[in-house]
C-alpha cells in the first residue's frame, strides 16, 4: 500500500515536468509580452528593449526555461514582474483562501447533494424524486455568476445580513461557498441517485432484506458503502474542477485567491506568476487524484486487494 502510494507520488514528477514545459511554451508563445503591457501605448522601442533585458526576456527560450526549472527545483519560482514580490510568497499567501473555498464548496456539495440523491432514489418516481431531480437540473444548468449576483442582491441588499465581497470574516464565505458548490452538488445528487438505483437492485441487497435486516441498516451498510465509490470519483474530479472554477467565484465576490491571481497575471502577461500558479494547481490536482485513488482502497476491499497484489 505504502509502496503503491510512493510509486504514484513519483509519477507526479514527469507530470509536473510536462506541465511546466507546456505552460512555459504557451505563455512565451502568446503574442505580446510583459514589457509592452507595463509600458503601455506610449513606449518607445528602446524602453521596451531595456525593460525586457532587465526582466531577462532577451535570453533564448531554452535558457530561460533552464533557469526557471533549476530555480523551481530549489523552490524559487522567481519574482512577479508586476509586483516584484516572490511568486512563492504570492502563491502561498493566496492558496489557503482558495483551498478553504474549494473544501467548503465540496462539503456543501456533498452535504446537500448526497441526501438529495438518496432521497430521490428511495422515493423513485414520486413527486419527491421529481422535485429533487428538478432541483439538481436547475443547480447544474444555471450559470454560477448569476447565482452569485442574485444571492448578493438578496442577502446583501434586500435582507442585508451578509457582506457582498472581501475576505474578512466567516460571513464572507457563505455566499461564495454556495456559488462554488452548487454545480458539484447537482452532479453529486444525480450521480448518487442513479448509483443508488443500480445498487438497490443488486442481489446482495435483496439477500440482506430477505435476512430481515432493518431497512435502515441495509441502507447504511449495504447500499451506501457501494454507492460511495462513483460518488467519490465524481467528487474527486469535481474538486479539480472547483479549483479551476474558483476564478469566477473569486472575481464576483472579490476574494483574493489563487484563481484571481493567475487570471490577473495572464492579463498582465506576468510570466513567472502564470507559470508558478499553473504548476501549483497541477500539483494540487495531482495530489487530490492520488487521495481519491487511496480512498477507493479504504472504501472497497476489492480495490485494496488489487493494490496489495500490485506490490
Amino acid at each position: 500500500m505504502l509502496r503503491y502510494f510512493l510509486k504514484r507520488l513519483l509519477f507526479l514528477i514527469p507530470v509536473l515536468l510536462g506541465v511546466s514545459i507546456v505552460i512555459f511554451v504557451i505563455v512565451h508563445l502568446a503574442p505580446g509580452d510583459p514589457a509592452e503591457v507595463m509600458l503601455g501605448p506610449s513606449a518607445t522601442q528602446e524602453e521596451i528593449t531595456n525593460l525586457r533585458e532587465q526582466l531577462g526576456l532577451t535570453k533564448p527560450l531554452y535558457v530561460q526555461y533552464g533557469i526557471f526549472l533549476t530555480n523551481a527545483l530549489k523552490g524559487d519560482l522567481g519574482r512577479s514582474i508586476k509586483t516584484n514580490a516572490p511568486v512563492v510568497d504570492e502563491i502561498l499567501e493566496r492558496f489557503p483562501v482558495t483551498l478553504t473555498l474549494a473544501i467548503l464548496g465540496m462539503i456543501f456539495a456533498i452535504a446537500i447533494g448526497l441526501p438529495l440523491g438518496i432521497l430521490a432514489a428511495l422515493k423513485q418516481n414520486t413527486w419527491v424524486d421529481a422535485l429533487a431531480s428538478f432541483f439538481a437540473l436547475v443547480g447544474f444548468s444555471i450559470p454560477n455568476f448569476w447565482v452569485g449576483l442574485m444571492l448578493m442582491l438578496l442577502l446583501s441588499i434586500y435582507i442585508p445580513i451578509l457582506p457582498s465581497s472581501g475576505f474578512d470574516s466567516w460571513k464572507n464565505l457563505i455566499m461564495p461557498t454556495i456559488v462554488l458548490g452548487i454545480q458539484t452538488m447537482a452532479v453529486i445528487a444525480r450521480m448518487t441517485r442513479s448509483s443508488m438505483l443500480e445498487v438497490i437492485r443488486q442481489d446482495y441487497v435483496r439477500t440482506a432484506k430477505a435476512k430481515g435486516i432493518s431497512d435502515r441498516l441495509v441502507l447504511t451498510r449495504h447500499i451506501l458503502s457501494n454507492v460511495m465509490i462513483p460518488v467519490i470519483t465524481i467528487a474527486g474530479l469535481y474538486f479539480g474542477h472547483q479549483l479551476g472554477g474558483v476564478v469566477i467565484t473569486e472575481t464576483i465576490f472579490s476574494i483574493p485567491g489563487l484563481g484571481r491571481l493567475i487570471v490577473d497575471a495572464i492579463r498582465a502577461q506576468d510570466y513567472p506568476v502564470v507559470q508558478g500558479g499553473v504548476l501549483f494547481f497541477a500539483l494540487c490536482v495531482g495530489i487530490v487524484n492520488l487521495l481519491v485513488d487511496l480512498l477507493y482502497a479504504v472504501l472497497d476491499p476489492r480495490i485494496k486487494a488489487q493494490y496489495r497484489a500490485a506490490k
Partner: protein, 502 residues
C-alpha cells in the same frame, strides 16, 4: 449555556471589528488592487491613486489640470535650459527623515537608471543633469528647451522617495514599505484585496480629516455597486459603469461626480496601408461615422464627439474648436468617389477585447458599410495590438490616448514622425507638423505655446491620420457622507480635503 456564551463572544468580537467604522474611515473600491506602491515601478491607474495619497511631487495639478506648487514652493528659469526649484522647508517623510533636495536628486536618478526600468523614465528623458545647490534648492538642466517639464514633474511616476527607506526595504520596497511625504502613510497591504493607509500627523499642510483610508480592489462592476448600496464602501473614485450612472444620479442617497476624461478614444489608420494614404479617404471615413450615436450607445450619453486630437481638459487644447467632422454620409460618399473608391473598399479594424472598444468597432463597421466600405473586425490581445500596431498594422485600430496632461504629451508621441515605429502608429509623416510640435516644446512662453498647439490641432484635424471618435466622461459616485471629494480628469483624485460625516 456554553454554546450561548461562545455565540455571545463571537458577537462581541464582531462588534469590536465594527468599531473602527465609527472613527473616520473612508473605504474606496477600484477595479483592481494595486500592483505596488513603488511609484517608479508601476504603470497602472489603481496603484497611481494610492501613490498619490502617500507621496508628494515637486509640483502637482489641481482639479482643472493647472500646475500648482507641492514640494517646490516656487521655481524659475534663468535660461531656457535651467530650472531652479525652491523647496518647501520643514517637510518630513513618514519615517521621520527630513525632506531635502538630495531626496529629489535620488528619486530622479532612480527613475532614470536603466536598472530600475521605470515605466515613468520617459517623463524625465529630457533631463540632462540634476544638481543639489543646497538643502532647499535644486537645479535641473534639460537637454533642450523643454516646456512640458513641469507637467512631467506632476506625474505620479515622478513622486519623491526617501533614499534611506528605499535602501532599507530593498526588493520589498513598494510591497512591504512605502515612505513618502504625503497626507497618508502606508500601513498594510493585503495582496489582491486591499491596502490600508493612515493619516500622517506630520503632513506639511496639516493632518487630513480622515483617520484611515482603505482602497479595495473589486473587479466586478455589479459587486462594487452592491457594496456601495449595502454600505460596504463609501466611494467609487472612477470607472463607475456608464449604464448605471443615470440611475444613481436620480437616487438622492448618493452623490455623483463627473468630469471630462484626459483620454480620448479614436480609430487609428495606418497611413502606409492602401487606401489610407489618401487624405480624401481618411476624411470620408471621418464623415461616415455618427459619433454621437456611438456615445449614446456605448457611453450612455456620458461623453461627446471629439473636437480634435486632444481632450478638452488637456492643457493647450484649443477651446474654440467644434466637433471634428460632423456626421455627413453624403459628403463621405462624394469624397470616396473623388478618391476613386466609389464602390468602397475592404479593410480590417483591429481591437482588443474591451467591451467598449469592441462595441465601438462594431458600430463603426455598420456606419462604414452605409457608405460602401466593407470592414471586418479582428480581436487581438492587448499587448499584441500594441506591438503589432507600433510596427505597422494592416488596417485600422481602436486605441485610446491619455497623454501627460500637456498638449505635448497628447500630440508629439502620436504625430511626430520621430515616433514612427513606436507610438506614432499612424506612421504619419509631415515635416510641417513635426516643426510645429518641436516649436511647441522649445519655447517656455506658455501663451505662445498655446498658439502653436492650436495650429497643430487644426492641421491634424485637416490631415486626419485617424478617425476622431469620443471624449468620454469620467464617472464616480459616493454615499452622502463623503464631503469634499473632487474627481480629477486624470482619474487620480487626492483625498486630503475629503471629510466624512456619519
Amino acid at each position: 449555556m456554553k454554546k450561548f456564551r461562545s455565540v455571545l463572544l463571537a458577537l462581541l468580537l464582531i462588534g469590536v471589528f465594527c468599531l473602527p467604522a465609527f472613527a473616520s474611515e473612508l473605504r474606496l473600491a477600484q477595479v483592481a488592487d494595486i500592483s505596488s506602491l513603488d511609484p517608479h515601478r508601476v504603470s497602472d491607474i489603481y496603484s497611481a491613486n494610492v501613490i498619490r495619497q502617500v507621496y508628494s511631487n515637486l509640483v502637482q495639478v489641481n482639479e482643472n489640470m493647472e500646475i500648482v506648487p507641492d514640494l517646490a514652493e516656487s521655481w524659475e528659469n534663468p535660461d531656457d535650459l535651467t530650472w531652479i526649484f525652491h523647496l518647501r522647508k520643514g517637510v518630513k517623510f513618514h519615517n521621520g527623515e527630513p525632506f531635502t533636495a538630495a531626496d529629489v536628486k535620488f528619486s530622479m536618478e532612480r527613475i532614470k537608471d536603466p536598472k530600475t526600468a521605470s515605466p515613468g523614465a520617459t517623463h524625465l528623458k529630457e533631463v540632462q543633469s540634476i544638481e543639489v545647490l543646497d538643502d532647499n534648492t535644486l537645479k535641473l538642466v534639460t537637454k533642450r528647451p523643454y516646456a512640458p517639464m513641469l507637467m512631467s514633474l506632476t506625474r505620479y511616476e515622478t513622486s519623491i522617495l526617501n533614499e534611506k527607506a528605499v535602501t532599507e526595504a530593498g526588493a520589498d520596497y513598494g510591497s512591504k514599505a512605502a515612505v513618502g511625504t504625503g497626507p497618508f502613510k502606508f500601513v498594510s497591504w493585503s495582496r489582491g484585496d486591499k491596502v490600508t493607509l493612515e493619516k500622517f500627523d506630520g503632513y506639511f499642510r496639516g493632518p487630513a480629516s480622515i483617520d484611515t483610508v482603505i482602497y479595495r480592489g473589486i473587479p466586478e462592476d455589479a459587486t462594487r455597486l452592491v457594496e456601495l448600496e449595502s454600505g460596504g464602501i463609501d466611494l467609487i473614485p472612477g470607472n463607475f459603469p456608464y449604464q448605471e450612472f443615470a440611475n444613481i444620479k436620480q437616487n438622492d442617497k448618493y452623490l455623483t461626480y463627473m468630469t471630462p476624461a484626459m483620454s480620448t478614444l479614436y480609430m487609428g489608420l495606418n497611413t502606409e496601408v492602401k487606401p489610407f494614404g489618401d487624405k480624401k479617404v481618411r476624411q470620408a471615413m471621418n464623415y461616415a461615422i455618427d459619433k454621437q450615436a456611438i456615445v449614446d450607445a456605448i457611453y450612455f450619453g456620458f461623453g461627446a464627439p471629439s473636437k480634435g486630437p486632444l481632450s478638452p481638459v488637456i492643457w493647450g487644447a484649443d477651446p474654440s474648436r467644434q466637433p471634428a467632422y460632423p456626421y455627413d454620409p453624403e459628403k463621405a460618399k462624394a469624397l470616396l468617389k473623388e478618391a476613386g473608391y466609389a464602390d468602397g473598399f475592404d479593410m480590417t479594424i483591429y481591437s482588443d477585447n474591451r467591451t467598449e472598444r469592441r462595441s465601438a468597432a462594431e458600430l463603426i463597421q455598420a456606419f462604414l458599410s452605409e457608405v460602401g466600405v466593407r470592414a471586418k473586425i479582428e480581436i487581438m490581445e492587448w499587448s499584441a495590438l500594441l506591438s503589432t500596431s507600433a510596427k505597422g498594422i494592416d488596417g485600422a485600430f481602436m486605441l485610446g490616448w491619455t497623454g501627460t496632461g500637456d498638449a505635448d504629451g497628447g500630440l508629439t508621441p502620436l504625430y511626430h514622425s520621430f515616433n514612427i515605429g513606436a507610438s506614432n502608429r499612424f506612421r504619419y509623416k509631415n515635416p510641417e507638423l513635426d516643426a510645429m510640435l518641436e516649436k511647441g516644446t522649445a519655447t517656455l512662453d506658455q501663451e505662445a505655446r498655446k498658439k502653436v498647439y492650436a495650429e497643430a490641432q487644426e492641421l491634424i484635424v485637416q490631415e486626419c491620420p485617424l478617425v476622431f471618435m469620443i471624449s468620454q466622461e469620467l464617472l464616480a459616485a459616493s454615499t452622502k457622507n463623503v464631503k469634499g471629494f473632487l474627481l480629477y480628469p486624470n482619474m487620480i483624485s487626492p483625498l486630503y480635503a475629503v471629510t466624512l460625516t456619519k
